[in-house]
């Protein structure tokens, strides 16, 4: 992997983290003193992906605009890495008319047809949809791939089973990515899943399954690259479980009392400083490079937020628009 690509990985991860940090700050900024989930410029549930950037970045290194991703309730890192327009995505999160969904969707429902990006707040239910996108690609004879991303909690939902079975049966170009961040809200992995790795579940459908430890963007990229190549070559689906980390609460406002000592351990596994140290040690990055990456990211995020804030809120008289096509 060449230096430029590795620096690109770093910058993309910083960009995503900066986005999540900024949204987090703004989300909480106007909800005090009596913290109210429905108050402020960004109301509602907010699931941020700090710690999971390597998954999105490693995966999207291999995707084109016309490949598809179907994400879960925690979608920002995937959307940004995929190339979804940050301005319009932010406007959506702020519930504005220039948002991806004209303010109708919100942060769990980001749809960008240009990037074939979508997501859903219902656990695992995006997986069959990705199978259908892959079906469309294969019927059209393109070499596009569809990726479904879901958490390790989601891997126990029936839709997981049906989606993997169908994808294998029809040999479709799908990559199933399980982001194992050890938690499903407050439920630890071993209270939801009787086996240590979801990789063997691939065998239940005759598809290769692999678990990737370490939350390292380069290792992840390699594995995703193989899976994408396999799919593009018409060899069918792959299941990848990526062990990653949830640095923050399940959603904003989650005090995480249930995590206890594990939280500190998790925090020590933040993949960005780890990758940064690695690139520094190899001489690819220095203080200036780090500062530039952060400044560039912050400028882009600030511009996106300014764009969002400048966009009007939807007019109540348009409430019934878009119910039917």
């Amino acid at each position: 992997m060449d230096g430029a690509q590795r620096l690109g990985f770093y910058r993309q991860m910083v960009r995503i983290r900066t986005y999540e940090e900024t949204i987090r700050g703004n989300y909480h900024a106007d909800k005090t003193p009596a913290w109210d989930i429905g108050a402020g410029l960004i109301p509602g549930e907010m699931h941020l992906a700090a710690g999971q950037e390597p998954v999105a970045v490693g995966l999207c290194a291999h995707l084109r605009d016309d490949d598809a991703i179907t994400g879960p309730h925690r979608p920002h890192h995937l959307a940004l890495a995929k190339g979804v327009d940050m301005h319009r995505m932010t406007a959506e999160i702020y519930g504005r008319v220039d948002g991806l969904g004209r303010g109708r969707g919100g942060h769990m429902h980001l749809f960008d047809p240009a990037q074939h990006f979508s997501c859903s707040g219902i656990i695992a239910e995006g997986m069959p949809v990705a199978v259908g996108q892959a079906l469309a690609f294969s019927r059209k004879g393109t070499d596009n791939v569809a990726v479904a991303v879901a958490g390790e909690g989601a891997a126990n939902q029936g839709a997981f089973h049906e989606a993997l079975n169908l994808a294998s049966l029809w040999k479709l170009p799908v990559i199933f990515i399980i982001e194992d961040n050890d938690w499903a809200i407050s439920v630890p992995r071993d209270s939801s899943t009787p086996i240590k790795s979801n990789a063997p579940r691939g065998a239940a459908y005759g598809i290769p399954g692999e678990r990737i430890e370490g939350n390292d963007v380069e290792t992840i990229s390699d594995a995703c690259g193989r899976a994408v190549a396999r799919a593009r070559a018409g060899e069918g689906p792959t299941l990848l479980e990526i062990h990653t980390v949830r640095l923050w609460g399940h959603f904003e406002g989650d005090a995480q009392a249930y995590r206890g000592a594990e939280l500190a351990v998790a925090e020590s596994h933040d993949p960005i400083p780890i990758y940064e140290a690695k690139l520094r040690a190899e001489g690819l990055l220095d203080d200036a490079g780090v500062a530039a990456a952060k400044a560039e990211a912050q400028a882009e995020v600030d511009a996106a937020i300014a764009f969002a804030l400048a966009s009007p809120v939807p007019d109540p008289s348009t409430l019934s628009d878009y119910v039917f096509a």
Binding site: G132, L135, A325
Partner: protein, 344 residues
């Protein structure tokens, strides 16, 4: 457009099942992006004949038998539709919707809205509904209200072969998701008791029947009888019988539950002052209540007699014939209700 504008009347008679599958076939010929998926839609031709013969004409790449994975393949239909294809997906019995309703109402029906109109889901989800042949509690329901209650999908309910074909073609061409519910009793199947109305004239060319326009299938002036699907046939039979006795019932076939042609109902009740709803779905929290509300939020004085409904009671579908027949909206119950309404 309706057939009268585009196609010459036909004397060819088809069963509803044949008319419906002909509609699919003609759209498949016209548009490469149309394909069919579902359980037993291939060699079997659909358990209730909705895809009969299609596998011979189009082969297994366009008529796809699926595993028993409704969430999986309905979700796959949605994904394919968002990528520009036009899937016709069959859920074998509406009664199975509980294993896959999330895909239907949280995804198929909402994506267009959530995307602010940027993503379309042009998909037809067809399914068999209804009872009367002792298939018991898990295979005999209608449940159109369960779909209609959730915004974002059209719900189509043909009562005869002509409408079945025209509504199917409209449904496939529609850019919104359409739930297409065919009652087993209207299909005209050789192995099920049927009303002769389940076989009727169907033009050979493609034509559309507009989704959202009710049809006055029997004009009348004394009482308005609003119905849909299989029950329309019973209402027509009863109305014809009562004609001979000087009781003039206007029978309205809704043809779709969403959009609901409230105007057609209001117009007729304005004339008759009496409303009977005949509905094979469960009585409460459904279509019959919605039609009552439609009248009285407009003007309660329109009703010269109490509102009446002949529906499936709020009871799971029993197996025994003696019980099921007592529960169904039969001709006997309809006739009695009309008689008592005109007397009121």
């Amino acid at each position: 457009m309706t057939v009268t504008e585009t196609v010459a009347p036909s004397t060819r008679r088809l069963s509803t099942a044949k008319a419906l599958s002909e509609g699919i076939a003609q759209e498949m010929e016209r548009d490469d992006s149309v394909f069919v998926m579902g359980e037993d839609v291939g060699a079997y031709g659909g358990i209730f004949g909705s895809t009969g013969g299609l596998i011979d004409q189009f082969g297994p790449s366009r008529i796809i038998d699926t595993p028993i994975s409704e969430t999986g393949f309905i979700g796959a239909g949605i994904g394919a539709a968002t990528e520009g294809l036009r899937p016709v997906v069959e859920l074998m019995f509406v009664d199975f919707f509980g294993v896959c309703f999330d895909q239907i109402y949280n995804h198929m029906a909402k994506i267009h809205f959530e995307s602010g109109g940027n993503v379309k889901v042009p998909m037809v989800l067809m399914m068999a509904v209804g009872g009367g042949y002792n298939d018991a509690a898990q295979h005999s329901q209608c449940l159109w209200a369960s779909f209609a209650h959730m915004p974002g999908m059209k719900v189509v309910v043909p009562s005869n072969p002509y409408d079945a074909k025209g509504l199917m073609i409209s449904a496939i061409r529609d850019d919104s998701p359409v739930v297409y519910m065919f009652h087993k009793g209207v299909m005209g199947l050789p192995w099920m008791a049927k009303n002769p109305r389940s076989i009727g004239p169907v033009p050979e060319d493609a034509y559309t029947v507009p989704i959202g326009k009710a049809n006055v299938v029997h004009p009348g002036s004394d009482v308005t009888v609003v119905s849909l699907s299989m029950s329309v046939q019973h209402c027509q039979d009863v109305a014809e019988k009562l004609d001979g006795e000087g009781i003039s019932a206007e029978v309205i076939d809704l043809r779709s539950v969403i959009p609901l042609d409230r105007e057609a109902v209001l117009e007729s009740v304005a004339k008759t002052g009496r409303l009977l709803v005949v509905d094979e779905d469960y009585k409460s929290f459904g279509l019959s209540g919605e039609l009552a509300a439609t009248i009285v939020e407009h003007d309660p004085t329109m009703l010269k007699a109490p509102f009446a409904r002949v529906t499936y009671p709020d009871v799971p579908v029993p197996y025994a014939r003696s019980l099921e027949q007592a529960a169904l909206p039969t001709r006997e119950r309809i006739e009695a209700a009309i008689r008592s309404l005109v007397r009121a």
